[in-house]
């Protein structure tokens, strides 16, 4: 009878000690993460309903006014249209090219290491550098690589093409540079995925006479489905994060024709229109949420298996 309470105390003590041990590991990292990431996320949600100018200590709540204004303004409409274009291109061209390259380079090709490095080298370069090199080295109307090359075929008319200055071309040119960077990334993801494809199943299918396109279409591609999900999620998120390239190459010019939400948000921040900027961030966040859930679901699935 005497022992029972003691044991409870012991158990409580042990639980407390366990709790303190866990806390000793988690307190600092979690504290940092909450202060710098979690709390700011909610703060932006709040700020999006205010008219804060970034300087004053106080601000007024304006409800959904920022969002209403946002929807009616041309820079926003152009930005969101460009973001969608960016997403559409990013989930089609780099995945197709990346998967194709991975399929080829996963076989017995000579100099495959050189080829792989050629394709994923752009990924290592800072986006700032990529943007600078493309903006000035490649797209510059007079001295750029592209027009100088075209001039060999169509003569001096080529020097009139304003890759970044023409409202109809600017966004395509920026996305082109981004694609250059993305293809190698997708290729790496698929190459890693191909290594996990069950070789025995493939061999069996080959025995049954499957080959070439049929083998790919009905065997390899379905087996790569988890990788494809991740590739799509990453491509969309990268499209939405496309800030560096736009900010350096065009700053969204001319006339917002190459603007994207991430850059438009930054420009509003620079203008001290903080509430407005927050509402743009919230729109970006809302679009991202869909893909965050998709990714989370994939991770949870892996967690259970």
């Amino acid at each position: 009878m005497v022992q029972a309470p003691v044991r409870t105390v012991n158990r409580q003590q042990r639980a407390l000690r366990q709790f303190l041990t866990i806390l000793s590991f988690l307190a600092v990292p979690l504290g940092l993460y909450i202060v710098w990431v979690i709390y700011p996320t909610f703060q932006t949600l709040l700020l999006s309903t205010t008219d804060w100018d970034g300087l004053s200590k106080t601000f007024n709540f304006v409800g959904l006014e920022n969002f209403q204004r946002l929807l009616g303004e041309e820079p926003f409409q152009k930005s969101i249209r460009n973001n969608i274009l960016w997403i559409v291109i990013f989930i089609t061209i780099p995945p197709t090219a990346g998967l194709g390259l991975a399929m080829v380079l996963n076989t017995d090709v000579k100099f495959d290491r050189f080829l792989k490095i050629a394709y994923y080298l752009p990924l290592v370069l800072a986006t700032v550098v990529t943007a600078l090199v493309w903006a000035q080295g490649i797209y510059n109307p007079r001295s750029g690589l592209l027009n100088s090359f075209l001039a060999l075929f169509i003569g001096d008319a080529a020097f009139k093409i304003q890759w970044l200055g023409d409202p109809n071309l600017a966004i395509w040119s920026v996305i082109g540079a981004a694609v250059w960077r993305q293809v190698g990334y997708v290729m790496i993801l698929y190459l890693a995925g191909l290594k996990t494809v069950d070789q025995e199943v493939l061999e069996a299918a080959k025995m049954d006479g499957a080959e070439g396109w049929t083998l790919f279409r009905y065997m390899v591609f379905p087996m790569l489905a988890p990788v494809t999900t991740i590739v799509v999620v990453i491509s969309v998120i990268d499209s939405l994060r496309s800030f560096d390239m736009v900010n350096i190459m065009t700053r969204g010019n001319p006339f917002d024709s190459s603007n994207v939400l991430a850059n438009y948000m930054y420009l509003s921040f620079e203008d001290y229109r903080m509430g407005y900027a927050a509402s743009i961030a919230v729109v970006l966040f809302a679009i991202s949420l869909i893909f965050i859930f998709l990714y989370l679901r994939e991770v949870m699935k892996q967690e259970e298996s």
Partner: protein, 290 residues
Amino acid sequence: MSANAIDVPKIGSRKEKKKGVHPAILTLVWIGAFIWLIPIAGSILTSLRGFDDFNAKGFWSIPERISLDNYVRAWGKMGIDRYLLNSFIVTIPALIGCIMLASMCAYALVRFQFKLAKPLYYMFVAGLLLPFQMLLLPVFKLTNDLGVYNTYWALIFFHTAFQLAFCTFVLRNFMKTVPASLFESAMIDGASEWTIFLRIAFPLMMPGIASLATLEFTWIFNDYLWALVLVTDNSLKPITTGLANLRGQYTTDYPLIVAGSIIACAPTLIVFFALQRYFIGGLTVGATKG
């Protein structure tokens, strides 16, 4: 996913034996590779020639003279050396801080059974894909309130905190593959959790940390947005915003800018080529199932 966290794929180590690739496709892959390399090769070439020469004759001309003048000018006069130093001052502490804290986090999430372990893990996973713009204003405000705005600390703090999500994600999955019995036996010997963490778990995480460190080094070093928002003083700017700043000053002198850009890329390229396998291993974590 679990096993893949450790499995650093060796590029081209395992080749499938099957009928060779069609020559037409292979040719296309080779042409593509050369097109992919043109911007890089062109940049190197341009950086070696004089401004007048480049300007007068254009991109596709044979340089009159090859010299390292642009590099010398970029390094000294343009202050690339200062920017580069700033980048290291920010990147190295952030990298170390983030990996230390994430390894503690990962250990706790795997080692202890508590209700919040899974939700916390999912919170970090969700954080991986958060748009940066969602944090921009509050973090800007926070650095002001803490008095670290426009200092190295602003960037060090932010990168450490933000990259915790990815680092914890990777290391936690890495820890999952370590048999629990390793820790249990140490427990029986009377070792405290911190001793087990420092003596057993941390060394075991080393291969994962290597992958992570190469990748994180590149990411933090190449960051542009946060450097733009949190540091305005020219003498404190890291290489990314430093370069953008120089471009504003020397708009037309492209050979000079590109020489600066190549210097800016050198550290990450060195890390990449030295630790290529780890870099790729880190990139593909989460993309493949074990």
